[in-house]
């Protein structure tokens, strides 16, 4: 089937019409634009993830170092009490927990003193 079409096309003297050529050029152009947009999109995604990663590590570093410039120590008198039952008597523990918050990202870290 396909070979007959090719043979017929070769036997004919007339070429492609202008419309055919323009449509094929259009299809090729659309394909190329789509491919290049994929590259641009992935480049943007990589850059975005780079920014997010840097911000995450910087926040993590601030929290770990308890850097006073960017991390605030929570103040307040809220107490957390953990109560449980042991085999002998009731057990109440008052753990002292300090809460640190990163100013930029709002990330919170809890440290048991």
């Amino acid at each position: 089937m396909l070979s007959t079409i090719i043979k017929e096309k070769l036997a004919k003297d007339n070429g492609e019409s202008l419309a055919e050529v323009l449509i094929s050029v259009l299809i090729i152009a659309v394909g190329l634009v789509l491919l290049s947009s994929l590259v641009v999109a992935s480049s943007r995604m990589v850059n975005n993830s780079d920014t997010k990663m840097s911000k995450l590590y910087s926040t993590q570093n601030s929290i770990e170092s308890r850097d006073s410039a960017s991390v605030t120590k929570a103040t307040g008198s809220t107490k957390i009490t953990i109560t449980g039952e042991s085999s002998k008597s009731n057990l109440t523990v008052n753990p002292k927990i300090t809460i640190y918050t990163d100013k930029d990202s709002g990330t919170v870290s809890y440290v048991k003193e």
Binding site: L10, L32, S36, V39, S43, Y57
Partner: protein, 171 residues
């Protein structure tokens, strides 16, 4: 079709020249485009792989520092001119230091008595595209904090650098 093949008439010089000109223009434009896209693709892939490698390295290093105990400065038993900031690893319970190798990347250097043992921190398959991570670190006794800088290099060019601060849990 047979008539066309038997036809002895060729193309004129101007026809051939024009055809060649158009063909070469198309080839140059397509080739240029392909090269630009290929370079961009390689750059993006390298950057993405560097991010993955950096993330993996930070996870592994963070894990070691977080569970570190007994931080000290230790003289290398095999080479007295070298000193390392060592810590007792929570994973292996051995005195450990981080060391850099130009081919194998970051290595865990275990010191027990007069013996030493070296283990690669990351496998070769993790270090894709010929990228090699390296580390410089120190321990601040006053802040109780490990401060490390991790650098990922390909050949002589630095691809990314990240500072890491870790407070050990039990020390």
């Amino acid at each position: 079709m047979l008539n066309r093949l038997k036809n002895k008439k060729g193309f004129t010089l101007s026809e051939t020249m024009a055809a060649l000109l158009i063909l070469s223009l198309v080839i140059v434009l397509t080739g240029g485009g392909v090269i630009v896209v290929k370079n961009a693709y390689q750059r993006i892939t390298l950057k993405a792989n560097a991010q993955v490698l950096m993330s993996t390295t930070i996870t592994k290093v963070n894990d070691e520092f977080k569970y570190a105990k007994e931080v000290n400065t230790t003289v290398d038993p095999k080479d007295s001119s070298k000193t390392y900031t060592t810590f007792v690893s929570g994973n292996s319970n051995l005195k450990t230091a981080f060391k850099n190798d130009t081919r194998k990347g970051i290595e865990l250097y275990y010191i027990y008595g007069d013996n030493v043992k070296t283990t690669q921190l990351l496998s070769n398959k993790t270090m894709t595209d010929g990228m090699i991570p390296s580390i410089t670190y120190d321990y601040s006794t006053s802040d109780k904090l490990f401060i490390a800088t991790i650098t990922i290099k390909k050949g002589d060019s630095t691809i990314s650098t990240q500072e890491l601060k870790v407070r050990p849990i039990d020390y």
